[in-house]
Each structure stands twice: as structure tokens, then as C-alpha cells.
């Protein structure tokens, strides 16, 4: 469509909003209520412009011409128009520069400021405030409003993590719309009306795992992140654009640090991944990095006590200790959120020591690399048939949001010269959601089930049986098609169905029909399936049978990447097993297996225990040498997210003494051993990775790069013999909040509460447990301190416990007889 914005002729796609046309032409209009990825609603009236268009003569169908010029005559709309809710028309003319438009803008700024407190000097948003900027650019600097301003609450805690200043709110409705449109949790609304309107909630503490995003999109200082309130001015922050290592979504983050500490985390923009959203665990879960008890110096055990020493001395001790151990008896394991560069370093170290006992942990029994056709997050967002096995909200939170995109049925918008459209007119408030395209399978009620047209609750650990049954049914139905009487054969295929797998035959048939009918079906699974190699194999086969792409959610940020580059044992016999009696020395990166008393006992008679950690824990307590580790916020490197996208990880300036990442450990070790090991620095690791992946990671763009799937041959060589699925009555479940850091994340702890032990109310009753009481119970050997939370979404007989890096998702034995109550007397009342 040909239009004119001021003096710029432009060709834009039909359906484009005028505001986007204006920006595409390189001009500017101020706006407050429009927001990328959300519906334009025309609430703030700030985006006014004069708009006109030619008209056709009704009778002749010809353009009405301007007699003087002979061109099509422009009919101007009688009033300035809100450009965000106006669509372009053929021949449209937009004027953003005239006096009339200026006057309208001046008026809107003045009006918007009528009740605004103008407390910018004490406002956290000052210096990065849309209202402040726009008032300077488009206001007159004067107000004719001489009356009392409206007074409202200035420090209203909407939740433990979000503070609302009701005086500053300009009622743009971004926050309210956000909750309905993006996560679909309608927990915030306008209360009252007219000049009395304010933002409020009746839900206790904004119960949505994605609540923090409203602090990013609020155009003023009304909604603020409580972790950073009054902690710094915007121009003092050092911004680091990086990738979250919190989960395998690979969400873009902006870390704001000041004087060596992280003050806040905001969402970054990655149109292919997280758009501009992150989950609350990622946003508010950073306080631990600045906690006072960080390990900042290497420590060596002398006379039974850990003493701080220099790196060189620590490494001499490491070298000497390892020197006395048979290399093949040394185990090296790093946590599955280590960067690819750290992975290379670990490989080089293991190779140098001559051990095949290299691994990353947690690593599920089955591979987390998709086989055949991997699905990208864009594939998820544009799918019309989704089968989800697991709890993506907690496994890779962004996947949850991209699934919700698919329910809207609006494919991602094309980028414009200025980026993501400001006002995408295809999006509206309260769009109907196509819930029927989504099936969610999980052994308990998950958040995502609220949005699913079909939900299936197999018994815990029953994913394998369910998937095998579905697969058999799919095959039988295909065969039936060729039979002489297809209808009868199809019925016969259904006859053998066993409802005990968690769904009825009719439901199963309907699900397969839906997947078969879908043009772009996607199968998504996470830890519950990957914990069981049989389930994994069935899931892969089912994807092939129904022609679906697959997305696998690994246990931690870079699980897929570390598997892909082969941070793996030379033989599955050598897989990471801290309880193994064959290993005489361990080098552990960010792992704490000694939480399990059996492992702790084993560790007591190791020849060497070298631990790279950011905080003291049960394992550092036994270590011979403790090396200070950086957190995921302080690393330079790269990660591979669940969809196979390489993403850059950059270091925020956090004061952490002599802490390093794992490449630093290998460098120091190499120096002590007199050898230049590969992966001794991020640069040297990248040289290795360039050869292996054919990507120069130093050149990775901000929004990353999809890595083509590994050639099947290479995968075949790496294929590991299947491990067996575990059993037990505790189901360790994914958690969007990282439990291992919760004690050092005070805001998040208040917001989220402690880690919970969830069970069916009748189980709670049977064991005399009351909501809120704190218990300690051994789960898979690790004593877990948990808050009792009865929940009728949990099937009877199953007890849900949130995962730890040292306690992966899946079934684990639960020792209820050894359950101890923290306040025994009060609990008796139950």
C-alpha cells in the first residue's frame, strides 16, 4: 500500500497501523499505551496525528480529484487520529509535524500530567521513563492545572516483588492487558472508574509466574521491581545484555549492575525466543549472586580446616593430590548450566587426566537432543496441534508463553525497519483462544492445563506406557486404512486400549486425529519423559508416526549444548555417580552431591575432592580444595537452548573476588601442571568449538543463531546405552524457581514461599500433615526441608518435591517414616 508520512513516500503491507508506518518512515510520535506484542487499544490518546485519505466517487468508482492539481483529493479526518488503532489505507497521507498536531500533543501531555506527581527526582524510573522523555519532547513545560492533584497510595505492595505507586499511574492499561494477553492470568484490573481509577488485585500477591514483566512495560514509575527499589539511578547502572542460564529457554536478559552488584534483571528482546518476557524466577532470583557468603578465594584444607590461599597455591595442591591418583579413577563433572566453553575446558581436563569419567549433571537417562525434525520456538508459536508431555511452565518458562502464542493463532509479525511492530492490529484484547489445539499430559495438575483443550493425567512414571499405547494405536490405525473394512479395523485397533494409561480410547483416538489433521504438529516433552528411556523412544517414534516436530526441554540451561559437544562419559558405565566406589578423586563444578549422607560418607575417604563452587555447601565441607566459582551472571561464553539456538552469555560486573568460571580452573591447573590445555580461556575454547560446530561463537549475534542438528551419524556414535528409569513415590518436579538459591534470594523467597511438599489433601490428612508446617523428609537419600502444601491437583499416593541440580526430575524413593516435623506439637492438632 502506497502512503505518505509527511514528506516520505512509503510502501507498507495492508493491515499495518499508522503508528508503525510513521516509525517505518523514520518519524516519531509519542505513545504510552501501545506495547510491542500486545493489542493496540487507543487508551492514552498520545499518538495523535492528522490523517487523510483520497476517496472514490460512489457513482463512478473513480478517485475524486483535486481540481487545482489534478491529483486525488485528500480528505482529512475531522479530528486528529490515534495512529495506533488506525490502519493504513491506499493513498493515505499522515502528518505528524504540523502546528495542529503539535497542539494536540501538547494538550495530551498536559492532560496526562494533570494528576501525575512529577516526583521524578525520587523515582526509580527517572532517566529511563517514557513519560518523562515524552513530556520533555512533546510538552510545553507548563500546566494550567492549578487544583489539588489526586492523592493515592504511593507504596502499595502488589506482591512481595512488585511495588505500585498509584499516583504515578497514567492508566495506559499495559499491565492489565499484559496479564490477560500474555500469560493469560487475569490477576490485575482497573478498579473504580474515571478520575478515581486505580490498578488493583483481589488475588493474593499476583499469582502468575510471569508477573514481573509489568515492571518492564509500565511506561512510568508506577510498577517497580522491589529488589531494586531506591537502589540506584538509571544512568548509574552498567547494562549487560546476556542470555538467561536459569532454564533451557535461552531468554534474553538485561542485567543492571552498580558498584559490583546486580541490582535488577530486566527482560531483553529476542523476537525468536522470549520476545520481551521473562519469568519471575529468572527476574527476581538474582539476589543470591551478591550474597555476603560468596566464596571469593580458593581454599585448601589444612589441619582439617579450609584456609584461603592464592590460586597458584591451590592449584599446586590440586596437582599434587591428583598426581597420586590413577587418572582413570578421577571423575570430572560440571553442572548442566555450564557454558559450552566450560564444557570444552572440562573435556580438556578429563583428557589430560586420562579419564573417561566425564559428565554433566543433571543428565536424564535419555538424550535431550531432538532426533528427526527439531521444532523451534517459532514452530511452537505457529503450531496448530500441540502435544505437551510435562510441565513447560517450570521446565522452560518461555515455552509456556510461546504455546500460548499458538493458542491465539496469530503468527509472529514480520519485523519492520524499526523492529517489532508497535501496534500489531491483528492482536486484540480477550482474543478467543484455540484451546482445542493443545493437549497437556502430566502426572499432576499443571499451570498450563488451564489453557489446554485436552488434559491427560497418567500415573507418575506412566508416560512410557501411555506413549507406547498411543504409538501402537497410531500404527494400528495406519494399517487399518489399508484393510478391506477400514472402519472395522479401526474399531479393532481401539478395542485393546487400556484406560489405565490415563486416557480413554475415544480421547486417544481424538488426540491422534487432531495431530493427524494438524498442518504443523509439535511434540514437546520434558524431564518426566526423558527420565525413562522407553518413554523417550516411544515419544520419538510417535513424533515420526504423526509427522510432528519435536522440542525437548532439558533439565538445565545448557544440557542440550553439553550433550551436543560431548561432555559425556566414554562409556555409560562411567556416567556421573557420586556414590560410585570406583572413583578415587572428584573434580566437581557447581554440584553438591554430598547432601546425600551416603555420598558424604563415600566422599570422606576419597583421595582428592576438588570442588568449584560459589557458596559453601555439604560438599565443600568435605573438600580438600575449594575453588571460587562465578555465577551464571558473571560468565562469558555461549549456551545452546532447547530449540538448538546458540546464544551469547556475557558477564555482568559483579564483585566476586578471585572467582572464575571452569575455563579459569583449567587454565590455573594447566599452569600448575606446566601444560597449555585447550579450553584454558573462553577464547581458546571457542577455537575448539569453531572447528567442531563450524560457528565462530565470538561473533554470535544478540539473538543467537540456530545450530543445524547434529548429523545422524555423529549422534549414532554418541548414542548412550539406555539407563533404567527410577521408581519411588516421590515425584521430583521441575521448578521455575531455583530451589538451591532460594535461601539467598529473600525477595523471591517471600514471594514464592519455601520449597513445597505437595500431596493430595487425603494423603496429608492420613499423615496428619497441615498446610504450612515445615517438615524434613529424605527424598532419594537427600534430606529435603519442605513446606507442606496439600493440593487436590496431585493424585493420591504421589508426593511432589521440587527439583535440585543434585536431584533431577523423575521418580525417587520417599521415606515417609523418616519424616520429621519442625513444630511437632502444633502439627498434632491436624
Amino acid at each position: 500500500m502506497k502512503i505518505h508520512v509527511n514528506d516520505v513516500p512509503l510502501d507498507v503491507a495492508p493491515g499495518t497501523s499508522v503508528i508503525d508506518a510513521v516509525f517505518a518512515a523514520g518519524y516519531d510520535v509519542p505513545y504510552f499505551c501501545s506495547q510491542e506484542y500486545m493489542s493496540p487499544i487507543g487508551a492514552c490518546r498520545m499518538c495523535l496525528a492528522r490523517v487523510g485519505a483520497p476517496r472514490k466517487d460512489r457513482a463512478t468508482g473513480e478517485w475524486i480529484l483535486d481540481e487545482a492539481t489534478g491529483d486525488a483529493k485528500i480528505f482529512w479526518f475531522p479530528n486528529p487520529m490515534a495512529t495506533c488503532t488506525t490502519q493504513v489505507m491506499e493513498g493515505m497521507v499522515v502528518d505528524t509535524l504540523s502546528k495542529e498536531v503539535k497542539r494536540a500533543q501538547n494538550g495530551m501531555v498536559e492532560f496526562t500530567l494533570v494528576n501525575h506527581p512529577l516526583d521524578c527526582p525520587t523515582c526509580d524510573k527517572g532517566g529511563a521513563c517514557e513519560l518523562q522523555d515524552r513530556a520533555y519532547e512533546y510538552g510545553t513545560g507548563e500546566s494550567r492545572f492549578v487544583f489539588d492533584k489526586r492523592h493515592q497510595e504511593k507504596h502499595h505492595a502488589l506482591s512481595e516483588a512488585i511495588t505500585l505507586d498509584r499516583e504515578r499511574c497514567i492508566h495506559c492499561k499495559r499491565c492489565v492487558r499484559y496479564f490477560e494477553e500474555v500469560p493469560g492470568d487475569e490477576v490485575l484490573d482497573f478498579i473504580e472508574r474515571g478520575g478515581h481509577t486505580y490498578i488493583g488485585t483481589l488475588e493474593d500477591g499476583l499469582p502468575s509466574p510471569f508477573s514481573g514483566n509489568i515492571t518492564d512495560i509500565c511506561p512510568v514509575g508506577a510498577l517497580l521491581d522491589s529488589t531494586s527499589r531506591f537502589r540506584g539511578r538509571n544512568w548509574e547502572y552498567h547494562h549487560t545484555d546476556t542470555t538467561s542460564l536459569d532454564d533451557p529457554s535461552g531468554a534474553a536478559l538485561r542485567i543492571d549492575a552498580r558498584t559490583g552488584r546486580i541490582e535488577r534483571i530486566k527482560a531483553g528482546l529476542n523476537d525468536e525466543v522470549n520476545k520481551t518476557w521473562i519469568d519471575d524466577g529468572t527476574r527476581f532470583g538474582h539476589e543470591y549472586a551478591d550474597h555476603a557468603d560468596r566464596i571469593t578465594l580458593p581454599m585448601v584444607r589444612k589441619d582439617g580446616r579450609l584456609e584461603p590461599v592464592a590460586w597458584s597455591e591451590a592449584m599446586r595442591v590440586v596437582r599434587d593430590k591428583l598426581g597420586g591418583v590413577d587418572g582413570t579413577k578421577v571423575g570430572v563433572a560440571i553442572r548442566a548450566d555450564a557454558t559450552l566453553e566450560e564444557g570444552v575446558a572440562a573435556q580438556a581436563l578429563a583428557a589430560h587426566l586420562g579419564t573417561g569419567r566425564l559428565d554433566h549433571a543433571p543428565r536424564p537417562a535419555a538424550s535431550v537432543l531432538p532426533g528427526g525434525a527439531p521444532a523451534t520456538l517459532r514452530d511452537v508459536a505457529t503450531s496448530d496441534g500441540l502435544l505437551v508431555l510435562g510441565d513447560p511452565t517450570h521446565e522452560a518458562a518461555i515455552v509456556d508463553l510461546r504455546i500460548k502464542d499458538a493458542l491465539k493463532g496469530v503468527p509472529p509479525a514480520d519485523l519492520l525497519p524499526h523492529g517489532v511492530p508497535i501496534a500489531d492490529l491483528r492482536l486484540t484484547e480477550r482474543m478467543p483462544r484455540k484451546t482445542e489445539i493443545l493437549t497437556v499430559v502430566a502426572p499432576y495438575r499443571t499451570d498450563l492445563m488451564k489453557h489446554a483443550g485436552r488434559t491427560v493425567t497418567p500415573p507418575a512414571g506412566g508416560e512410557g506406557a501411555l506413549l507406547r499405547a498411543l504409538l501402537a494405536l497410531a500404527h494400528a490405525r495406519t494399517e487399518a486404512q489399508g484393510a478391506s473394512d477400514p472402519g472395522k479395523a479401526a474399531d479393532a485397533a481401539l478395542a485393546g486400549w487400556d484406560d489405565a494409561v490415563g486416557m480413554s480410547a475415544a480421547d486417544a483416538a481424538a488426540l491422534l486425529d487432531a495431530l493427524a489433521a494438524a498442518e504443523a504438529p509439535v511434540l514437546i516433552w520434558g524431564g518426566f519423559v526423558s527420565a525413562d528411556p522407553d518413554a523417550d523412544a516411544a515419544a520419538r517414534a510417535l513424533a515420526t508416526a504423526v509427522g510432528a516436530k519435536t522440542l525437548i526441554l532439558g533439565p538445565m540451561a545448557n544440557a542440550a549444548g553439553l550433550e551436543r559437544i560431548g561432555v559425556l562419559p566414554s562409556h555409560e558405565r562411567y556416567a556421573y555417580d557420586p556414590a560410585s566406589s570406583e572413583v578415587r578423586a572428584w573434580i566437581l563444578g557447581d554440584l553438591d552431591p554430598a547432601q546425600d549422607p551416603t555420598v558424604a560418607k563415600r566422599f570422606a575417604d576419597l583421595d582428592a575432592l576438588i570442588v568449584h563452587a560459589a557458596f559453601e555447601n555439604a560438599t565443600t565441607a568435605l573438600a580438600d580444595v575449594v575453588l571460587p566459582a562465578v555465577t551464571g551472571y558473571e560468565k562469558e561464553g555461549s549456551t545452546l537452548n532447547a530449540e538448538g539456538r546458540l546464544l551469547p552469555v556475557r558477564a555482568a560486573p559483579v564483585e566476586a573476588g578471585a572467582a572464575t568460571d571452569f575455563t579459569g580452573v583449567v587454565k590455573a591447573y594447566g599452569e600448575a601442571a606446566g601444560e597449555r590445555l585447550e579450553g584454558r580461556s573462553v577464547r581458546s575454547a571457542r577455537r575448539v568449538l569453531k572447528k567442531r560446530l563450524d560457528v565462530d561463537l565470538a561473533e554470535l549475534p544478540d539473538d543467537g543463531r540456530l545450530l543445524p542438528p547434529a548429523p545422524a551419524a555423529a549422534r549414532g556414535a554418541r548414542a548412550l546405552p539406555a539407563r533404567r528409569a527410577a521408581t519411588g513415590s516421590a515425584l521430583v518436579v521441575p521448578s521455575l524457581v531455583r530451589i538451591e538459591h532460594l535461601d539467598r534470594n529473600p525477595t523471591l523467597l517471600r514471594e514464592h514461599g519455601g520449597p513445597t511438599l505437595r500431596m493430595h489433601p487425603s494423603d496429608a490428612h492420613a499423615h496428619g500433615l497441615t498446610r504450612g508446617e515445615v517438615v524434613t523428609v529424605p527424598v532419594g537419600g537427600i534430606p529435603r526441608r519442605l513446606v507442606v502444601a496439600p493440593d487436590d491437583g496431585v493424585p493420591e499416593g504421589t508426593w511432589l518435591v521440587p527439583t535440585l541440580p543434585d536431584q533431577p526430575v523423575g521418580l525417587h524413593p520417599l521415606d515417609l517414616d523418616a519424616l520429621r516435623r519442625e513444630r511437632g506439637e502444633t502439627a498434632e492438632v491436624a
Partner: protein
């Protein structure tokens, strides 16, 4: 707040009524039943308690926040019990120009209440509301569901006296154009402009 009567769900013993209301809307527009449901509760109980809000949210698969958002938009619904005579003074432009502020002041002084309050006896509640859609007969005072138009001081006195005797008088129907019963007279010649 006394919540005793809300212990039982309001619609529990009114399944036909509930079905009738829900049946007015297609399934995808179920949330449209919000207004009639609120109205049933408001009419029967004279206010909509938090327990009722939660109940309606449950019926319509909404959050309590959304119900509260809609409810608070309308001055018809009350979050707290109001008195037997709920005095609602229109405070929007036309009524303001015709002296609604003085009317409110007068009611405040006479009743000893500020807007939003109910007297100890539970007889009178005072509230300022937005335009009642009767601007030609400003200022407007709505008592429960009855409009009293062009109310002057004498009208208010008579009205209050009657209500103290528990009588709600018939409103006087006033002719359009008669603008001198309360407040400053309109400048000559402008009434019909």
C-alpha cells in the same frame, strides 16, 4: 464486616435462575453474565461481599479481580452494605454547574456523613456518583432506585424528613426549562441555547 449470611453460596438454591441467566449468552460469551449475576446479589443483599465476588468468579471462570474491576466501575454495586436510603448525588458536570457541590455539602452537614459513609443506624448512606443521565434536570439526587430532579434545599429537607419516618415520597416530575429551584440561576437567555 458481618459475613454471616454469606456462608452459603448465593446461587446454591437458585439453580433455575442461574441457568436462565447463563442461558442468555453463548458459551464463548459466558462472562457477559457477570452484570446480571452481580445485580441479583446486589438486589437481594444490598451489597456484594467478597465471598459473593469469589462465588461469581467461580461460576464464570474469571478471577475475583476481574469481577471486582467490573463491579467497581458501576456505582450501582456496593462492596459494603449501604443504608436503607442510599443517597447518590450526581457529581458530573451538568449537576455540578447546577449546584451539586452545595447539595453534597448540605447533605454532609445535615446527616453528619461524608460520601462513602453510612450512619450508625443504617438508615442513610451518602455517595457521589457520576452522571445519572438526567442532565436536563440537574442537579439530580438518586435515592435507592428513584430519581429526585432539580432538588433544592427545601426539597432535600422534605425528603430527609419523610425518610426519617420511613417514607420514600413520590418524586415530583418537573418540567424542562424550569431552572430556578436550586443553586445559581442560569444566565438569562442561555437556557435554550
Amino acid at each position: 464486616m458481618i459475613e454471616l449470611q454469606t456462608a452459603r453460596p448465593f446461587f446454591e438454591d437458585k439453580p433455575e435462575l442461574l441457568q436462565e441467566i447463563l442461558g442468555r449468552y453463548p458459551d464463548y460469551g459466558r462472562r457477559s453474565a457477570l452484570m446480571p449475576l452481580l445485580w441479583e446479589v446486589q438486589r437481594a443483599e444490598r451489597y456484594v461481599s467478597e465471598a459473593r465476588i469469589a462465588e461469581i468468579a467461580d461460576i464464570l471462570d474469571l478471577t475475583a479481580t476481574e469481577v471486582r474491576g467490573v463491579m467497581s466501575f458501576y456505582s450501582t454495586y456496593h462492596g459494603e452494605p449501604v443504608g436503607r436510603y442510599h443517597l447518590q448525588v450526581c457529581a458530573t458536570l451538568s449537576c455540578k454547574l447546577a449546584g451539586a457541590d452545595q447539595l453534597t455539602d448540605y447533605l454532609e452537614d445535615t446527616l453528619g456523613l461524608v460520601p462513602g459513609e453510612t450512619d450508625a443506624e443504617g438508615r442513610f448512606s451518602l455517595q457521589k456518583v457520576e452522571c445519572l443521565g438526567s442532565c436536563t434536570t440537574a442537579p439530580v439526587l438518586q435515592v435507592n432506585d428513584t430519581y429526585y430532579e432539580r432538588v433544592g434545599r427545601a426539597d432535600v429537607d422534605a425528603l430527609l424528613a419523610a425518610m426519617k419516618e420511613d417514607v420514600l415520597p413520590e418524586p415530583a416530575r418537573v418540567r424542562a426549562g424550569d431552572n430556578e429551584r436550586y443553586g445559581p440561576a442560569a444566565p438569562a437567555g442561555e437556557e435554550d441555547a
